[in-house]
Symmetry: C2
Subunit: 270 residues, 2 copies
């Protein structure tokens, strides 16, 4: 995939001088040459979100910003919507309810156009629900109560980023147990807990951390033992020996190797 994904943990700053995540999005989409599309389908107040992001993207120097209002599957299958995506150098999904995105956009012509544009080098960004929906399996909800098979609900995501489970507002909403529950059941998926005003920029199989908080990576594939039973759905899960990484801005992680990258490795390419 030659395109890039910018996966934001929610509540990214829009303040001038503190908006490095959105600034990077505008820059990577082409700056003054960018054709940005804002999709606020997840939100209950799409007009407010469209206005808000158009303002900040214009201030950050984006050449063109188009709000694309997709409220029905008919919208998501329209020639107009597909044409907007085909012209886009960057698409931004706002926060809200991730199920709104899958039910309105999933399997539509816009969905296909997004995948096609990504393959051609576009950047796809999303915050909160717009971030969660990017993985092949997404977290729909859960409880903080315990690590158990019923503590987290998952469903198929939009499949832009395979092999990970993304949780957002991670530190702020104390979501460790629901992410742990998910990766304990599905250790082939790498758990990525992204704090607010924090993002990962994915290019190929490497991501870089941007923003103020940290990204918590939980690799239950390293576990020596996991016990959970679907026969006892409320029963707690035991997870022995998972690996955990905390990555602040500037750190890079290889999703294929499932390991943080040292500067030396990065320099090795030169």
């Amino acid at each position: 995939m030659p395109g890039m994904l910018l996966v934001i943990g929610g509540a990214e700053s829009h303040d001038a001088g503190d908006d490095e995540i959105l600034e990077r999005f505008v820059l990577l989409a082409g700056g003054a040459d960018a054709h940005l599309v804002v999709i606020a389908t997840a939100s209950l107040s799409p007009a407010d979100r469209e206005k808000e992001y158009a303002e900040v993207f214009h201030r950050l120097g984006a050449g063109r910003v188009t709000p694309l209002r997709l409220e029905s599957r008919e919208d998501a299958n329209s020639d107009l919507a597909v044409a907007a995506i085909e012209r886009a150098t960057g698409v931004f999904f706002t926060g809200g309810d991730q199920l709104r995105i899958t039910t309105v956009v999933g399997g539509s012509r816009v969905d296909s156009a997004l995948h096609a544009r990504l393959a051609e080098g576009m950047i796809l960004a999303g915050t909160s629900a717009g971030a969660t929906m990017m993985s092949s399996t997404m977290i729909l909800g859960g409880s903080l109560a315990s690590v158990s098979t019923t503590s987290v609900h998952t469903g198929p995501g939009m499949e832009f980023l395979p092999s990970v489970l993304i949780d957002m507002h991670f530190a702020e909403r104390g979501r460790l147990n629901r992410l742990l529950s998910a990766v304990a059941m599905f250790p082939h998926e790498l758990g990525l807990g992204i704090d607010e005003n924090t993002a990962i920029l994915v290019e190929g199989d490497v991501f870089e951390v941007l923003g103020r908080g940290t990204v918590t990576v939980i690799d239950a594939g390293k576990a020596i033992d996991i016990s959970c039973s679907s026969a006892e759905p409320d029963g707690p899960i035991a997870l022995w020996g998972a690996q955990l990484h905390v990555l602040p801005a500037g750190h890079r992680f290889n999703l294929t190797d499932r390991a943080p990258m040292r500067r030396a490795e990065e320099d090795h390419a030169d």
Copy 2:
């Protein structure tokens, strides 16, 4: 230390039939032969807490329950208080503010008497603040915001359980980042995040998990790289390759080996 520690993550159930943690405390302290002492120094409403615990301990069959009101260092150095501890087979510290416990009881004759009774085989229990204070270094407070050197404040605890950092209400209050911040700075301490209505029973260098939730063990001693700088106090911390265990009821963990124990190892002793 022949005695036992029962370290409860707060909000343990007092309901008949669902009070296994407190039931275990009463049983281990001697049941009908138990002389229990309740110390509610951490609480702003000590009379309420004393009454509440006396009721539940009596219902659970405790022979004798004595509330020991320690409101000043003078109280904690009194002959009466020391005599109460010397007779006790089990002592219970309620929740509240852990600094109240250290400032009133720390270094007093009661403090010495508690350590002496533990060495003789007593059981010492505490919930919430009464649990946090048991380690040699305790968590005083912190923020959820990020993993950084200023995200957690620690201070010396009452030194009943060395080599660990205890955090309580762990899942319910989303305290991963503050515990991660602490163990990243002090990886020789094992991080123990104890959920509500969940406890560890420590005997020698082994603990067993009791209750409804899980205990999250974070071992930053396994980390391959940690970077944090006291020169940049608000800067985020990077932590690569920490080990994480999630342990529900019945699981045992060896604090010296820093590893969960398999049934086979336990049986090995027979």
